[in-house]
Symmetry: C2
Subunit: 206 residues, 2 copies
DNA sequence: CTGCGCTGTTACCTCCGGTAACATGGCGGC
DNA sequence: GCCGCCATGTTACCGGAGGTAACAGCGCAG
Protein backbone atom coordinates (compact mmCIF):
# COMPACT_ATOMS: atom_id res chain seq x y z
CA UNK A 1 0.00 0.00 0.00
CA UNK A 2 2.44 2.60 1.17
CA UNK A 3 5.37 1.35 -0.90
CA UNK A 4 5.47 0.43 -4.55
CA UNK A 5 6.82 -3.09 -4.83
CA UNK A 6 8.47 -2.47 -8.17
CA UNK A 7 10.63 0.30 -6.83
CA UNK A 8 12.31 -1.93 -4.25
CA UNK A 9 13.19 -5.25 -5.82
CA UNK A 10 15.96 -6.04 -3.33
CA UNK A 11 13.59 -5.47 -0.51
CA UNK A 12 11.21 -7.95 -2.06
CA UNK A 13 13.96 -10.52 -2.37
CA UNK A 14 14.89 -10.10 1.25
CA UNK A 15 11.28 -10.46 2.28
CA UNK A 16 11.02 -13.62 0.22
CA UNK A 17 14.02 -15.05 2.02
CA UNK A 18 12.57 -14.09 5.39
CA UNK A 19 9.36 -15.74 4.35
CA UNK A 20 11.11 -18.97 3.55
CA UNK A 21 12.96 -19.06 6.84
CA UNK A 22 9.87 -18.33 8.86
CA UNK A 23 7.92 -20.94 7.01
CA UNK A 24 10.65 -23.38 7.94
CA UNK A 25 11.61 -22.33 11.46
CA UNK A 26 8.62 -20.42 12.73
CA UNK A 27 8.22 -16.77 13.66
CA UNK A 28 11.11 -16.80 16.13
CA UNK A 29 13.69 -17.20 13.39
CA UNK A 30 16.77 -15.11 14.06
CA UNK A 31 17.99 -12.24 11.96
CA UNK A 32 21.17 -14.18 11.30
CA UNK A 33 19.20 -17.07 9.89
CA UNK A 34 17.19 -14.79 7.65
CA UNK A 35 20.29 -13.03 6.42
CA UNK A 36 21.96 -16.37 5.72
CA UNK A 37 18.94 -17.55 3.80
CA UNK A 38 19.15 -14.43 1.68
CA UNK A 39 22.85 -15.10 1.11
CA UNK A 40 23.93 -11.95 2.89
CA UNK A 41 24.73 -10.75 6.41
CA UNK A 42 22.82 -8.94 9.09
CA UNK A 43 23.67 -5.27 8.57
CA UNK A 44 22.00 -5.26 5.18
CA UNK A 45 18.77 -6.37 6.73
CA UNK A 46 19.02 -3.59 9.25
CA UNK A 47 19.72 -1.06 6.52
CA UNK A 48 16.54 -2.06 4.76
CA UNK A 49 14.19 -2.55 7.66
CA UNK A 50 15.64 -0.63 10.57
CA UNK A 51 15.13 -3.32 13.14
CA UNK A 52 13.44 -6.63 13.62
CA UNK A 53 10.04 -5.09 14.05
CA UNK A 54 10.50 -3.35 10.73
CA UNK A 55 11.19 -6.62 8.99
CA UNK A 56 8.36 -8.46 10.65
CA UNK A 57 6.10 -5.53 10.00
CA UNK A 58 6.89 -5.47 6.31
CA UNK A 59 6.44 -9.21 6.20
CA UNK A 60 3.08 -9.14 7.88
CA UNK A 61 1.84 -6.26 5.75
CA UNK A 62 2.40 -8.39 2.70
CA UNK A 63 0.40 -11.35 3.93
CA UNK A 64 -2.16 -9.32 5.76
CA UNK A 65 -3.38 -7.84 2.51
CA UNK A 66 -4.53 -11.18 1.20
CA UNK A 67 -6.20 -12.38 4.36
CA UNK A 68 -7.85 -9.04 4.97
CA UNK A 69 -9.14 -8.81 1.43
CA UNK A 70 -10.53 -12.31 1.63
CA UNK A 71 -12.29 -11.64 4.91
CA UNK A 72 -13.61 -8.33 3.68
CA UNK A 73 -14.98 -9.89 0.54
CA UNK A 74 -16.60 -12.66 2.54
CA UNK A 75 -18.19 -10.09 4.84
CA UNK A 76 -19.97 -8.50 1.89
CA UNK A 77 -21.00 -11.60 0.05
CA UNK A 78 -24.68 -11.33 -0.94
CA UNK A 79 -26.01 -14.14 1.22
CA UNK A 80 -28.40 -14.62 4.06
CA UNK A 81 -26.76 -13.35 7.20
CA UNK A 82 -26.20 -16.73 8.75
CA UNK A 83 -24.70 -18.04 5.52
CA UNK A 84 -22.51 -15.00 5.31
CA UNK A 85 -21.23 -15.61 8.83
CA UNK A 86 -20.44 -19.19 7.96
CA UNK A 87 -18.72 -18.06 4.83
CA UNK A 88 -16.48 -15.66 6.73
CA UNK A 89 -15.60 -18.30 9.26
CA UNK A 90 -14.77 -20.75 6.52
CA UNK A 91 -12.60 -18.26 4.70
CA UNK A 92 -10.61 -17.53 7.83
CA UNK A 93 -10.16 -21.16 8.81
CA UNK A 94 -9.17 -22.10 5.28
CA UNK A 95 -6.57 -19.36 5.28
CA UNK A 96 -4.92 -20.39 8.51
CA UNK A 97 -5.13 -24.02 7.51
CA UNK A 98 -3.31 -23.50 4.26
CA UNK A 99 -0.27 -21.81 5.77
CA UNK A 100 -0.02 -22.26 9.51
CA UNK A 101 3.37 -20.65 9.95
CA UNK A 102 2.40 -17.49 8.17
CA UNK A 103 -0.81 -17.47 10.10
CA UNK A 104 1.07 -17.62 13.36
CA UNK A 105 3.20 -14.71 12.31
CA UNK A 106 0.09 -12.68 11.60
CA UNK A 107 -2.00 -13.65 14.54
CA UNK A 108 0.42 -13.84 17.45
CA UNK A 109 1.76 -10.49 18.54
CA UNK A 110 5.45 -9.91 18.84
CA UNK A 111 7.09 -10.99 22.09
CA UNK A 112 8.45 -7.97 23.90
CA UNK A 113 6.32 -5.01 23.00
CA UNK A 114 6.99 -2.71 25.91
CA UNK A 115 5.27 0.27 24.28
CA UNK A 116 1.81 -1.06 23.62
CA UNK A 117 -0.39 -2.17 26.45
CA UNK A 118 -1.69 -5.72 26.72
CA UNK A 119 -2.98 -6.02 23.21
CA UNK A 120 -4.37 -9.48 22.80
CA UNK A 121 -4.80 -8.85 19.09
CA UNK A 122 -1.95 -8.51 16.63
CA UNK A 123 -2.18 -5.69 14.08
CA UNK A 124 -3.53 -7.93 11.37
CA UNK A 125 -6.26 -9.13 13.67
CA UNK A 126 -7.07 -5.64 14.78
CA UNK A 127 -7.70 -4.77 11.17
CA UNK A 128 -9.98 -7.76 10.83
CA UNK A 129 -11.80 -6.73 13.96
CA UNK A 130 -12.38 -3.30 12.51
CA UNK A 131 -13.63 -4.86 9.31
CA UNK A 132 -16.14 -6.95 11.23
CA UNK A 133 -17.19 -3.92 13.23
CA UNK A 134 -17.84 -1.99 10.05
CA UNK A 135 -19.76 -4.83 8.47
CA UNK A 136 -22.01 -5.17 11.51
CA UNK A 137 -22.66 -1.46 11.58
CA UNK A 138 -23.61 -1.46 7.93
CA UNK A 139 -25.67 -4.60 7.83
CA UNK A 140 -27.38 -5.08 11.16
CA UNK A 141 -29.88 -2.88 12.95
CA UNK A 142 -28.87 -2.81 16.59
CA UNK A 143 -30.71 0.30 17.64
CA UNK A 144 -29.06 3.06 19.60
CA UNK A 145 -26.51 0.72 21.11
CA UNK A 146 -25.24 -0.06 17.63
CA UNK A 147 -21.83 1.62 17.83
CA UNK A 148 -20.84 0.13 21.16
CA UNK A 149 -22.18 -3.31 20.37
CA UNK A 150 -20.63 -3.53 16.93
CA UNK A 151 -17.23 -2.46 18.18
CA UNK A 152 -17.35 -4.82 21.11
CA UNK A 153 -18.54 -7.65 18.95
CA UNK A 154 -15.92 -7.02 16.29
CA UNK A 155 -13.17 -7.53 18.86
CA UNK A 156 -14.99 -10.36 20.55
CA UNK A 157 -15.65 -12.35 17.42
CA UNK A 158 -12.09 -11.89 16.28
CA UNK A 159 -10.73 -13.12 19.59
CA UNK A 160 -13.15 -15.99 19.60
CA UNK A 161 -12.19 -17.17 16.14
CA UNK A 162 -8.52 -16.69 16.91
CA UNK A 163 -8.64 -18.91 19.96
CA UNK A 164 -10.89 -21.45 18.31
CA UNK A 165 -8.81 -21.53 15.14
CA UNK A 166 -5.64 -21.97 17.15
CA UNK A 167 -7.09 -24.88 19.03
CA UNK A 168 -8.53 -26.41 15.89
CA UNK A 169 -5.21 -26.26 14.06
CA UNK A 170 -3.45 -27.77 17.03
CA UNK A 171 -5.74 -30.68 17.75
CA UNK A 172 -7.78 -31.07 14.58
CA UNK A 173 -10.84 -32.32 16.44
CA UNK A 174 -13.03 -32.24 13.35
CA UNK A 175 -13.06 -31.31 9.67
CA UNK A 176 -13.34 -27.69 8.75
CA UNK A 177 -17.04 -27.52 7.82
CA UNK A 178 -18.00 -28.92 11.18
CA UNK A 179 -15.87 -26.36 12.93
CA UNK A 180 -17.55 -23.65 10.92
CA UNK A 181 -20.90 -24.98 12.07
CA UNK A 182 -19.82 -25.12 15.70
CA UNK A 183 -18.68 -21.50 15.67
CA UNK A 184 -21.69 -20.26 13.74
CA UNK A 185 -23.95 -22.10 16.16
CA UNK A 186 -22.33 -20.29 19.05
CA UNK A 187 -22.73 -16.93 17.36
CA UNK A 188 -26.29 -17.81 16.49
CA UNK A 189 -27.38 -18.25 20.06
CA UNK A 190 -27.54 -22.00 20.22
CA UNK A 191 -26.17 -21.69 23.72
CA UNK A 192 -29.35 -19.90 24.74
CA UNK A 193 -31.69 -22.12 22.74
CA UNK A 194 -30.56 -25.47 24.09
CA UNK A 195 -32.37 -27.21 26.90
CA UNK A 196 -31.13 -27.42 30.45
CA UNK A 197 -29.66 -30.64 31.71
CA UNK A 198 -30.74 -31.81 35.15
CA UNK A 199 -28.22 -30.86 37.84
CA UNK A 200 -25.86 -33.66 38.76
CA UNK A 201 -26.54 -35.28 42.08
CA UNK A 202 -22.95 -35.85 43.09
CA UNK A 203 -20.00 -34.24 41.35
CA UNK A 204 -17.29 -36.90 40.89
CA UNK A 205 -14.37 -35.12 42.47
CA UNK A 206 -10.75 -35.65 41.51
CA UNK B 1 -1.30 -27.40 45.03
CA UNK B 2 1.62 -29.63 44.35
CA UNK B 3 3.94 -27.94 46.84
CA UNK B 4 3.23 -26.99 50.41
CA UNK B 5 3.91 -23.29 50.79
CA UNK B 6 5.09 -23.58 54.34
CA UNK B 7 7.85 -25.94 53.47
CA UNK B 8 9.53 -23.50 51.10
CA UNK B 9 9.66 -20.09 52.72
CA UNK B 10 12.65 -18.90 50.65
CA UNK B 11 10.79 -19.79 47.53
CA UNK B 12 7.91 -17.66 48.64
CA UNK B 13 10.23 -14.75 49.30
CA UNK B 14 11.72 -15.04 45.86
CA UNK B 15 8.28 -15.18 44.32
CA UNK B 16 7.30 -12.08 46.23
CA UNK B 17 10.33 -10.27 44.85
CA UNK B 18 9.53 -11.43 41.34
CA UNK B 19 6.00 -10.24 41.82
CA UNK B 20 7.18 -6.79 42.80
CA UNK B 21 9.51 -6.49 39.83
CA UNK B 22 6.89 -7.65 37.37
CA UNK B 23 4.34 -5.32 38.82
CA UNK B 24 6.84 -2.53 38.26
CA UNK B 25 8.46 -3.48 34.95
CA UNK B 26 5.95 -5.74 33.29
CA UNK B 27 6.16 -9.44 32.45
CA UNK B 28 9.35 -9.04 30.43
CA UNK B 29 11.45 -8.27 33.51
CA UNK B 30 14.84 -9.95 33.36
CA UNK B 31 16.10 -12.62 35.69
CA UNK B 32 18.86 -10.28 36.77
CA UNK B 33 16.34 -7.66 37.79
CA UNK B 34 14.34 -10.17 39.77
CA UNK B 35 17.44 -11.50 41.49
CA UNK B 36 18.53 -7.97 42.34
CA UNK B 37 15.12 -7.17 43.78
CA UNK B 38 15.44 -10.24 45.96
CA UNK B 39 18.90 -9.07 47.04
CA UNK B 40 20.65 -12.07 45.52
CA UNK B 41 22.08 -13.19 42.19
CA UNK B 42 20.85 -15.26 39.31
CA UNK B 43 22.06 -18.78 40.05
CA UNK B 44 19.92 -18.96 43.15
CA UNK B 45 16.84 -18.28 41.12
CA UNK B 46 17.81 -21.05 38.75
CA UNK B 47 18.41 -23.42 41.62
CA UNK B 48 14.91 -22.81 42.87
CA UNK B 49 12.96 -22.66 39.66
CA UNK B 50 15.05 -24.42 37.04
CA UNK B 51 14.59 -21.84 34.34
CA UNK B 52 12.61 -18.76 33.55
CA UNK B 53 9.51 -20.69 32.66
CA UNK B 54 9.67 -22.35 36.04
CA UNK B 55 9.69 -19.01 37.79
CA UNK B 56 6.92 -17.53 35.70
CA UNK B 57 4.97 -20.73 36.06
CA UNK B 58 5.21 -20.70 39.83
CA UNK B 59 4.24 -17.06 39.81
CA UNK B 60 1.20 -17.58 37.65
CA UNK B 61 0.10 -20.63 39.58
CA UNK B 62 -0.15 -18.46 42.65
CA UNK B 63 -2.42 -15.91 41.04
CA UNK B 64 -4.32 -18.31 38.85
CA UNK B 65 -5.84 -20.07 41.81
CA UNK B 66 -7.93 -17.09 42.80
CA UNK B 67 -9.19 -16.23 39.35
CA UNK B 68 -9.93 -19.81 38.51
CA UNK B 69 -11.81 -20.40 41.71
CA UNK B 70 -13.87 -17.27 41.17
CA UNK B 71 -14.79 -18.26 37.64
CA UNK B 72 -15.55 -21.79 38.65
CA UNK B 73 -17.83 -20.65 41.43
CA UNK B 74 -19.60 -18.25 39.09
CA UNK B 75 -20.12 -21.04 36.58
CA UNK B 76 -22.03 -23.06 39.15
CA UNK B 77 -24.07 -20.29 40.68
CA UNK B 78 -27.72 -21.36 40.93
CA UNK B 79 -29.20 -18.85 38.49
CA UNK B 80 -31.04 -18.85 35.23
CA UNK B 81 -28.59 -19.66 32.49
CA UNK B 82 -28.48 -16.20 31.03
CA UNK B 83 -27.95 -14.68 34.45
CA UNK B 84 -25.24 -17.17 35.15
CA UNK B 85 -23.46 -16.22 31.95
CA UNK B 86 -23.65 -12.58 32.88
CA UNK B 87 -22.37 -13.38 36.31
CA UNK B 88 -19.34 -15.21 34.94
CA UNK B 89 -18.56 -12.37 32.56
CA UNK B 90 -18.83 -9.87 35.37
CA UNK B 91 -16.57 -11.88 37.63
CA UNK B 92 -13.90 -12.08 34.97
CA UNK B 93 -14.04 -8.44 34.02
CA UNK B 94 -14.00 -7.40 37.65
CA UNK B 95 -10.92 -9.51 38.23
CA UNK B 96 -8.92 -8.08 35.37
CA UNK B 97 -10.09 -4.61 36.26
CA UNK B 98 -8.88 -4.83 39.80
CA UNK B 99 -5.31 -5.83 39.00
CA UNK B 100 -4.36 -5.28 35.37
CA UNK B 101 -0.67 -6.10 35.79
CA UNK B 102 -1.34 -9.50 37.26
CA UNK B 103 -3.98 -10.05 34.66
CA UNK B 104 -1.47 -9.39 31.87
CA UNK B 105 0.91 -11.90 33.34
CA UNK B 106 -1.81 -14.51 33.46
CA UNK B 107 -3.46 -13.91 30.14
CA UNK B 108 -0.64 -13.14 27.77
CA UNK B 109 1.55 -16.10 27.01
CA UNK B 110 5.29 -15.85 27.26
CA UNK B 111 7.13 -14.47 24.24
CA UNK B 112 9.14 -17.09 22.43
CA UNK B 113 7.87 -20.53 23.25
CA UNK B 114 9.47 -22.62 20.53
CA UNK B 115 8.34 -25.91 22.06
CA UNK B 116 4.62 -25.38 22.27
CA UNK B 117 2.61 -24.78 19.16
CA UNK B 118 0.77 -21.55 18.50
CA UNK B 119 -1.24 -21.46 21.66
CA UNK B 120 -3.31 -18.34 21.69
CA UNK B 121 -4.30 -19.09 25.25
CA UNK B 122 -1.96 -18.87 28.21
CA UNK B 123 -2.09 -21.74 30.71
CA UNK B 124 -4.37 -19.90 33.08
CA UNK B 125 -6.80 -19.23 30.28
CA UNK B 126 -6.64 -22.78 29.10
CA UNK B 127 -7.75 -23.85 32.54
CA UNK B 128 -10.61 -21.42 32.37
CA UNK B 129 -11.52 -22.75 28.96
CA UNK B 130 -11.62 -26.25 30.35
CA UNK B 131 -13.78 -25.08 33.20
CA UNK B 132 -16.25 -23.53 30.80
CA UNK B 133 -16.23 -26.67 28.68
CA UNK B 134 -17.04 -28.76 31.71
CA UNK B 135 -19.81 -26.45 32.82
CA UNK B 136 -21.44 -26.52 29.39
CA UNK B 137 -21.25 -30.27 29.26
CA UNK B 138 -22.86 -30.57 32.66
CA UNK B 139 -25.53 -27.96 32.29
CA UNK B 140 -26.62 -27.78 28.67
CA UNK B 141 -28.19 -30.43 26.48
CA UNK B 142 -26.48 -30.20 23.11
CA UNK B 143 -27.37 -33.62 21.76
CA UNK B 144 -24.82 -35.91 20.27
CA UNK B 145 -22.57 -33.04 19.23
CA UNK B 146 -22.20 -32.06 22.85
CA UNK B 147 -18.57 -32.97 23.39
CA UNK B 148 -17.30 -31.24 20.27
CA UNK B 149 -19.46 -28.18 20.72
CA UNK B 150 -18.70 -27.72 24.38
CA UNK B 151 -14.99 -28.01 23.85
CA UNK B 152 -15.02 -25.65 20.90
CA UNK B 153 -17.20 -23.20 22.73
CA UNK B 154 -15.06 -23.30 25.86
CA UNK B 155 -12.06 -22.17 23.88
CA UNK B 156 -14.08 -19.75 21.80
CA UNK B 157 -15.75 -18.01 24.70
CA UNK B 158 -12.44 -17.72 26.51
CA UNK B 159 -10.78 -16.15 23.51
CA UNK B 160 -13.70 -13.87 22.96
CA UNK B 161 -13.72 -12.60 26.53
CA UNK B 162 -9.95 -12.26 26.50
CA UNK B 163 -9.94 -10.04 23.43
CA UNK B 164 -12.96 -8.08 24.57
CA UNK B 165 -11.59 -7.63 28.07
CA UNK B 166 -8.26 -6.47 26.71
CA UNK B 167 -9.93 -3.90 24.53
CA UNK B 168 -12.22 -2.79 27.30
CA UNK B 169 -9.36 -2.27 29.74
CA UNK B 170 -7.44 -0.37 27.13
CA UNK B 171 -10.12 2.00 25.91
CA UNK B 172 -12.80 1.90 28.62
CA UNK B 173 -15.62 2.48 26.17
CA UNK B 174 -18.32 1.88 28.75
CA UNK B 175 -18.86 0.88 32.39
CA UNK B 176 -18.53 -2.73 33.31
CA UNK B 177 -22.22 -3.72 33.50
CA UNK B 178 -22.78 -2.49 29.98
CA UNK B 179 -19.84 -4.50 28.74
CA UNK B 180 -21.27 -7.55 30.44
CA UNK B 181 -24.54 -6.94 28.63
CA UNK B 182 -22.83 -6.50 25.27
CA UNK B 183 -20.97 -9.78 25.61
CA UNK B 184 -23.94 -11.68 26.95
CA UNK B 185 -26.04 -10.32 24.09
CA UNK B 186 -23.54 -11.67 21.61
CA UNK B 187 -23.51 -15.08 23.26
CA UNK B 188 -27.28 -15.01 23.40
CA UNK B 189 -27.75 -14.74 19.69
CA UNK B 190 -28.67 -11.11 19.39
CA UNK B 191 -26.60 -11.04 16.23
CA UNK B 192 -29.04 -13.45 14.64
CA UNK B 193 -32.14 -11.85 16.09
CA UNK B 194 -31.54 -8.29 14.94
CA UNK B 195 -33.10 -6.92 11.77
CA UNK B 196 -31.24 -6.37 8.53
CA UNK B 197 -30.27 -2.89 7.52
CA UNK B 198 -30.92 -1.91 3.90
CA UNK B 199 -27.78 -2.26 1.78
CA UNK B 200 -25.94 0.98 1.24
CA UNK B 201 -26.31 2.42 -2.22
CA UNK B 202 -22.75 3.58 -2.64
CA UNK B 203 -19.93 2.49 -0.39
CA UNK B 204 -17.78 5.53 0.42
CA UNK B 205 -14.39 4.21 -0.61
CA UNK B 206 -11.10 5.28 0.91
C1' DC C 1 39.31 10.91 -12.30
C1' DT C 2 36.43 12.15 -8.64
C1' DG C 3 32.67 11.86 -5.81
C1' DC C 4 28.38 9.53 -4.62
C1' DG C 5 25.13 5.96 -3.53
C1' DC C 6 24.26 1.25 -3.16
C1' DT C 7 25.94 -3.25 -2.29
C1' DG C 8 28.32 -5.94 0.77
C1' DT C 9 31.80 -7.38 4.52
C1' DT C 10 34.21 -8.24 9.41
C1' DA C 11 34.33 -7.30 13.90
C1' DC C 12 32.46 -5.62 17.64
C1' DC C 13 28.96 -4.02 21.58
C1' DT C 14 25.31 -5.03 25.04
C1' DC C 15 22.11 -7.79 27.14
C1' DC C 16 19.79 -12.04 27.97
C1' DG C 17 19.05 -16.91 29.72
C1' DG C 18 21.69 -20.32 31.68
C1' DT C 19 25.83 -22.85 33.93
C1' DA C 20 30.34 -24.18 36.27
C1' DA C 21 33.18 -23.70 40.02
C1' DC C 22 34.13 -22.17 44.14
C1' DA C 23 33.19 -20.14 49.06
C1' DT C 24 30.62 -19.97 53.45
C1' DG C 25 27.83 -21.22 57.36
C1' DG C 26 24.78 -24.00 60.37
C1' DC C 27 23.92 -28.67 62.12
C1' DG C 28 23.40 -33.50 63.21
C1' DG C 29 26.30 -37.93 63.79
C1' DC C 30 30.47 -40.32 65.45
C1' DG D 1 35.79 -31.93 68.99
C1' DC D 2 35.62 -32.79 64.40
C1' DC D 3 33.59 -34.36 60.14
C1' DG D 4 30.67 -34.42 56.32
C1' DC D 5 26.48 -32.59 54.45
C1' DC D 6 23.35 -29.51 52.49
C1' DA D 7 21.56 -25.16 51.45
C1' DT D 8 23.12 -20.69 50.86
C1' DG D 9 25.57 -17.49 48.41
C1' DT D 10 29.29 -15.70 45.16
C1' DT D 11 32.23 -14.53 40.61
C1' DA D 12 33.09 -15.55 36.15
C1' DC D 13 31.94 -17.42 32.21
C1' DC D 14 29.33 -19.36 27.66
C1' DG D 15 26.47 -19.06 23.49
C1' DG D 16 23.34 -16.56 21.03
C1' DA D 17 20.23 -12.86 20.44
C1' DG D 18 19.50 -7.85 18.43
C1' DG D 19 21.99 -4.10 16.81
C1' DT D 20 26.02 -0.96 15.19
C1' DA D 21 30.60 1.00 13.48
C1' DA D 22 33.91 1.07 10.09
C1' DC D 23 35.57 -0.24 6.11
C1' DA D 24 35.58 -2.25 1.02
C1' DG D 25 34.05 -2.73 -3.74
C1' DC D 26 31.27 -1.27 -7.67
C1' DG D 27 28.66 1.40 -11.25
C1' DC D 28 27.84 5.75 -12.87
C1' DA D 29 26.99 10.96 -13.53
C1' DG D 30 29.74 15.10 -13.91
Amino acid sequence: MTTEPRLEPRREQLLNAADRVIQREGPSASMNAIAAEAGITKPILYRHFGDRNGLIGALTERHTAGLLAAVRAALHEPLERRDRVEHVLDVYLAAIESRPQVYRLLTHPEPGDPTGAGNALAPALRQIAEEITRAIQQQVDLGQDGPLLSETWGRSITGMVLAAGDWWLETRPCPRPRMVQALADLLWGRLSAAADLPPMLAAPEV
